[in-house]
C-alpha cells in the first residue's frame, strides 16, 4: 500500500514544473499498457497509456504550455482486495491555446481534477479521471448552464489543515472510524428526518462541482441537498438504496461505486455511475419529463474528531445533462473535437 502511494506521488510530482519534458515516460511508467482509463464527458473511455498521451495529455500540454500540477489530497486504500490510490487538486497553467475546441483566454487558469487508480504490480490498471470542465468554462467567461449556480462558484481549496498528502501508514482505528462515519452518513441521506445532519460539523464545508457550487455550514449544504433529493421519482438507485426493480433499465445503468476506502482522517468514494433515477422536477433549468439519468460521482471527506468537516465533490454534470438532452458545450457555441495524432 505504502509502495503504491510512493509510485503515485512520484507520478504526481513529475507534473510539477517539468511536465512538458517528463510526462511521456511518467505516464508510460505509471499506467499499464492496456489500462482502462475512464475520463469524464466528452472524453469518456481511453484504452492504455499510449492513447492517454495522444488523445488527452498532448493536446492539454499544447494548450497549457506551462502546465503544472498541484495535488492537495493523496492517499490509498484496499477494498475487496483491490488496491487503490486517489488524488485531488488542480492543474494550473496559462490557457494559451484552444483545447478540444474550448477557446483559450491566455490567462492563468485552474483546472480542478480528481482521480482514482486501481493498482496492480505497481501500475494503474483501471482509472477514473474527473475534471471540472464547467469550472473551466466559468473561468473563461462562458457559463454554459440554463440557471445560475445553486451555490457559490469559486476556486476550491485543499484541506484547511494542509495534511491531505498521506504518505505514512495511518492508525487503523482512525481509518475505520472515518469510513464508518461516512457510510452511516450516506445511508442517512434521503431521509425525511435528515438524520445525515448529525454527522457533520455545523461549520462544515461542501465543495461541489461548478454548477452546484460550494456551501458553508450544514444549513448551507441542505440548501443544495434537499432540493436535489426531490428531483428523483420514487424509483432510484444509489450505493445505499434501491427502489427500482432488479434488472430494470435503471438498475442495469447504475453500476454503484467502484471504490470506497479511508485512510486516517480522509475517506474517498467514487461511482461510475454511482446513482441514478428519473427526473420528476425541474433541475438546472431542465424540464422534467421522467428522463432517466445517472451520475458519475466522486467524493473525498475529511473527519475531525467525531464530525465530518470538509467534503470535496465531483459530479460529471456534462454527462448527466447529456442524458437530459442538454449539450453543455453547444450551449456556449463550442464544438468539441479531438485532433488526430
Amino acid at each position: 500500500m505504502e509502495n503504491n502511494k510512493k509510485i503515485y506521488k512520484y507520478f504526481c510530482d513529475t507534473f510539477l514544473y517539468d511536465a512538458q519534458k517528463n510526462h511521456e515516460s511518467a505516464i508510460n511508467k505509471f499506467f499499464k499498457k492496456d489500462a482502462i482509463i475512464n475520463i469524464v464527458e466528452p472524453i469518456n473511455e481511453i484504452k492504455g497509456s499510449e492513447e492517454l498521451i495522444k488523445k488527452f495529455f498532448l493536446p492539454m500540454l499544447y494548450a497549457f504550455p506551462d502546465f503544472y500540477r498541484r495535488t492537495d489530497i493523496l492517499f490509498g486504500g484496499i477494498i475487496n482486495e483491490e488496491e487503490w490510490v486517489t488524488g485531488s487538486g488542480h492543474y494550473v497553467g496559462t490557457f494559451a491555446k484552444d483545447w478540444m475546441g474550448i477557446p483559450a483566454n491566455n490567462k492563468l487558469t485552474y483546472l480542478r481534477f480528481g482521480e482514482f487508480h486501481r493498482m496492480q504490480n505497481g501500475q494503474a490498471v483501471e482509472t477514473y479521471l474527473f475534471f471540472d470542465l464547467i469550472d473551466l468554462l466559468r473561468q473563461i467567461g462562458k457559463w454554459p448552464l440554463l440557471t445560475k449556480s445553486l451555490g457559490d462558484e469559486r476556486f476550491i481549496p485543499g484541506p484547511i489543515t494542509s495534511d491531505g498528502i498521506i504518505l505514512e501508514a495511518q492508525n487503523s482505528e482512525e481509518t475505520k472510524t472515518s469510513l464508518v462515519m461516512v457510510e452511516e452518513m450516506l445511508r442517512n441521506l434521503h431521509t425525511k428526518e435528515q438524520y445525515w445532519r448529525k454527522y457533520w460539523h455545523p461549520n462544515m464545508m461542501w465543495y461541489g462541482p461548478s454548477g452546484y457550487g460550494s456551501y458553508i455550514g450544514v444549513d448551507g449544504f441542505a440548501r443544495f441537498q434537499l432540493p436535489y433529493e426531490s428531483v428523483f421519482d420514487p424509483y432510484r438507485k444509489s450505493s445505499t438504496t434501491m427502489t427500482c426493480e432488479k434488472g430494470s433499465k435503471l438498475d442495469l445503468a447504475v453500476k454503484g461505486h467502484f471504490a470506497r476506502f479511508a485512510e486516517g482522517n480522509f475517506v474517498a468514494s467514487g461511482g461510475w455511475p454511482s446513482h441514478g433515477g428519473h427526473l420528476c422536477k425541474e433541475w438546472l433549468g431542465i424540464e422534467a419529463k421522467g428522463q432517466q439519468f445517472t451520475c458519475r460521482i466522486s467524493d473525498w471527506w475529511r473527519r475531525e474528531g467525531n464530525k465530518l468537516v470538509e467534503n470535496w465533490v465531483f459530479v460529471d454534470l456534462i454527462d448527466m445533462l447529456k442524458q437530459l438532452d442538454y449539450d453543455v458545450f453547444k450551449a456556449v457555441d463550442i464544438e468539441i473535437f479531438f485532433e488526430d495524432n
Binding site: 506551462d66 498541484r70 496559462t94 476556486f155
Partner: protein, 324 residues
Amino acid sequence: MILENKQLYKSYLREFSYPNETNYKNAVHNFFSEEASINVVHPINKIQGSQGYIDKVLKPMMKAFEGLSRSDYIVIGGNYEGNDWITSTGYFAGKMINDWLGMRANNRLVYIRFGEFHRMQNNKCVESYIFYDLPELMMELGIWPLSPSPGYSGHIPGPTTHDGLVYGESDPIESSKTLTIVEKMLSKLNTPNKEWYPYWHENMLWYGPAGFGSYIGIKNFENFQVPFESCFQGWTVELSDNNTIIKDFIRVADGNYATNGGWLSVNGKHVKRFLDQEPTNKDVSMRVCDWWRREGNLLVENWVFVDVPDLLLQIDYDLFAKLK
C-alpha cells in the same frame, strides 16, 4: 524564542479554526499585549491593543461572517535585527450575512485572504501588521468598481507542497540559503538586463493581490511586473523620501520559506495610467508583503499583498467611497 513564539501562535490559531465568542476573545487577550500597536490595511489602519483589535476588527468580522473560520497555509518565524517575528498567511471563510466595511453582504460563502506579522516580546505580541485582500472580496461580491485584473483573479492556494506550516525548527543553513537568494533577487529587480531572472524557476507561480492578478511562468510575470514598475518612476524599495529612510519591518527566512514586509516600502512617482487612474505625478509609498518558497536553488512560489485601497487613496481614488 522563535520556537516558543510559534507554539504561542499555534495555540492562538487553534482557537480560530472554529471561533466562538468566548474562545476567540480569550485567545486575543492571551496573545496580544494590551498596548500592542496593530496596523491593518485601509480602511481600518491603526488600532491600539488587544481590546481595540477585538472591537474594531474581529467583532465586526464575526458579525458580518457567519461560521467564520480561519485557515493558515504558511506559518514561519524569525529574528530580524534583534526583533522576534511570527508571520502567517491564508484565508478566512464564512457566510457573509451582514455588511462589512461598507461592502454589502451577499448571504453567500465568501473568503478573505489575510497575511499577518506579529512582533513578539516576553510571550506577547507588541506590534502587528495585518493585510486583507479587500479588492479580492469586492471582486467576489461583484462590486469591484475598476477594470478586472490583467491576470487571474480569485482564490490563491497555499504551497504546492503543503509544507508551509513550519512549527518546528529549520536547518539554519537552509534558511540562510533562502534568505540569500531572496535578497539577491530583490536587489536585482528593476535592472535593465532582468538580472532577477536567474533566481526564479521558469515555471514559477506569482500569486499577486487582486487588481494585479496571478501569473504562472517567469515571462508572464515579467509581462505584468515591468509595466507595473514603469507606472511609478524612480521605483525603489526601502529608500529615502525627504531623506527619511523607511526600512522594511521584516525580512527573514525559515527553512525553504522567506518573507518580507514593509509598511510603506515600494516608492515611486505615479507617472503612468495605473488601475484606471491617469498619472497624478504624486509620490506614493506602498504597504507590501511577500512570502516565497524556494526549491533547490530557485524560487518557485511567491505570495504577495499590496494594500491596493491605500495606494489608490494616495493617487486620489477613494475605493470605499465608490461603494456607496
